[in-house]
Subunit: 340 residues, 2 copies
């Protein structure tokens, strides 16, 4: 098993180090290779993501990413040039974001107790408004226009919906909620709704429901307990998973996987949090999201037992927290001992 | 002053009746004319929104709308044919949604007290993904594609951003947060960001900030106190205002205005909640959102004192609530007495 590691910028290196520590403790001997990508490299060399590096990454079984980005880089450069390029080039069409209110964690919601929130968002990762299909005219004049186009294919919609149903089949509550905005985006919404209805027929024992994205955003706050598996488009998933992170105690704990289920290309696993330049280098970033990303990675690569071990160790770690400031390396040490 | 009243479907008629009761108490003698539009009319006549009715509505100073919609109508028919048509035909480019955690109201957030949340979202109302610019090919086949296009003009973006700054200038905290997704939607995002920076120069004493929509959705839950005026595009505004409604105690209290500030056409005021067919006709819907919509309407039509009176009466009404079931008409009676 060969894993490429992109520590990236800001706190990326610190949290990824703990992820790798835990990986080595739970499954010794995995070959990991560091790759230097992100804002620092961009500033040093002017390059965002050379093709030669992409070809090397393609040779790995998975990619572990820390965080990429810095306010000094113009918006879009690293996002389009690196993160989204990885998702699109490696056809990572399942953007998987589990949300749990972990034991010991006080989320912001008054009436929700740990253990009550436990759902996963299956966000489409290779289509929609992320296609990069936009343009503009008459820039800087009163006549300026700008467009963004959401591109959706039956191919892309069907495969991610089927993935969501397959995941629901392996869970306890067995329910899939499709989220879109069919009452306004009637073309894309129609494609999503019809495909959802058809794929649902293949899974007669999975319950289904549909919600508009605005309603789902509201329920995510007023009743997140209701969700099991949510499947939705790329941009709606981007927004909903950040609300999900908020109601489960913040992005410090949220892991994600950009997954190509066919394994034709490597999948990528990363904490949802960014590079947090304000606290970088101080050894106080929470590495739990990076550690949980390692668990998602192991699950994907066929090591579910090791993944469960990490999740249980994280549950123990979080239950034991007393509100003391976090020491990044100590969290990694404690979780490593628990999984070893 | 002539107000057209579209009670609409479900609880629409019940809550609008209370809004009109309060209107008559605070400013007697306003001429109101009922118009029959919505799911019921559609089923009865097959018509959604005849041009003749639109031309009549155009003769009024404002429109008060209850709620439109029913599950029996296919998605998009009433939304595109009536609600969005009104917004677009009457060029209601400011979709105004104030958010307050009212006294006496327990929102879902553990650490936020009444009075601490008080912001307003200025949502663009006539552009973006709501333009209806989409299409599809090969429907029902494996080769199907569907598109949705977001159309943005300097004209449209500039006027709504300027409106947001003008509103901030009249508030205490004087801050405007622009929300978009400039790191992915680089074309539309660039237009919004450049226009925002330019308009900001006209308002040197207003503080500004920018947030990506996913981050804003998160902060709306973890720190809604930080916002004063938010300006954003049509779809982002749709989602953010539902989160805002959730953190301030639900859409039962949220009012909105679809405003054409030039007054070339009538503006429209409506509760954010829908027609709620499940509780329709039982006299238990909360009319507060409809009553607050009347306040927004009066504010727009140049009666700020009457608008303030209604808001103060609503604050008193909400502070006095003891958790007893709501009786729609009694709420309207109590608020009417307070404003008279
Ligand atoms: C950084 C950005 C391009 C990215 C996205 O929009 O997908 C991020 O918000 C995420 O959710 O992974
Ligand atoms: C009903 C629908 C078309 C509408 C919208 O999307 O604008 C609603 O959600 C709203 O927020 O007013």
């Amino acid at each position: 098993m060969r894993i490429a590691v992109v520590a990236g910028d800001g706190i990326g290196a610190e949290v990824v180090a703990e992820g790798l520590k835990v990986l080595d403790a739970v499954l010794p001997g995995v070959e990991t290779t560091p790759y230097d990508l992100g804002a620092a490299r961009y500033h040093r060399t002017g390059e965002v993501f050379p093709d030669s590096v992409r070809d090397e990454l393609a040779q790995h079984d998975a990619i572990l990413l820390g965080a990429v980005g810095d306010p000094s880089v113009p918006p879009g450069v690293l996002e389009r040039g690196l993160l989204l390029k990885l998702r699109f080039d490696f056809d990572q069409y399942v953007n998987l974001r589990p949300s749990r209110l972990w034991p010991g964690t006080a989320g912001p919601l008054a009436n929700v107790k740990p253990g009550e929130i436990d759902f996963v968002v299956v966000r489409e990762g290779t289509e929609g408004l992320y296609a990069g299909a936009g343009g503009g005219l008459h820039r800087g004049t009163p006549a300026e226009i700008a467009t963004e186009e959401s591109l959706n294919t039956r191919h892309g919609v069907e495969r991610v919906i089927r993935d969501a149903f397959a995941r629901a089949a392996g869970r306890t509550r067995r329910k899939v909620t499709m989220v879109h905005k069919t009452n306004v985006l009637t073309h894309a919404g129609g494609l999503w709704a019809r495909t959802f209805a058809e794929v649902a027929k293949e899974f007669p024992d999975i319950a289904t429901e549909y919600q508009h994205v605005d309603a789902a955003a509201m329920f995510m706050v007023t009743n997140p307990q209701r969700y099991d598996v949510i499947v939705t488009d790329n941009l709606f998933g981007d927004i909903l998973t950040d609300i999900a992170a908020a109601v489960t105690g913040g992005i410090g704990l949220a892991a994600s996987g950009c997954i190509n289920p066919t394994r034709a290309f490597p999948s990528m696993f990363e904490p949802v949090h960014g590079s947090a330049p304000d606290i970088a280098g101080q050894g106080k970033a929470d590495p739990v999201a990076a550690i949980l990303s390692v668990a998602l990675c192991l699950e994907h690569l066929g090591h579910p037992d090791e993944a469960r071990k990490i999740e249980e160790a994280v549950a123990t770690e979080l239950s034991g927290r007393t509100g003391e400031p976090i020491r990044t390396a100590e969290v990694g040490d404690r979780v490593s001992v628990l999984v070893a």
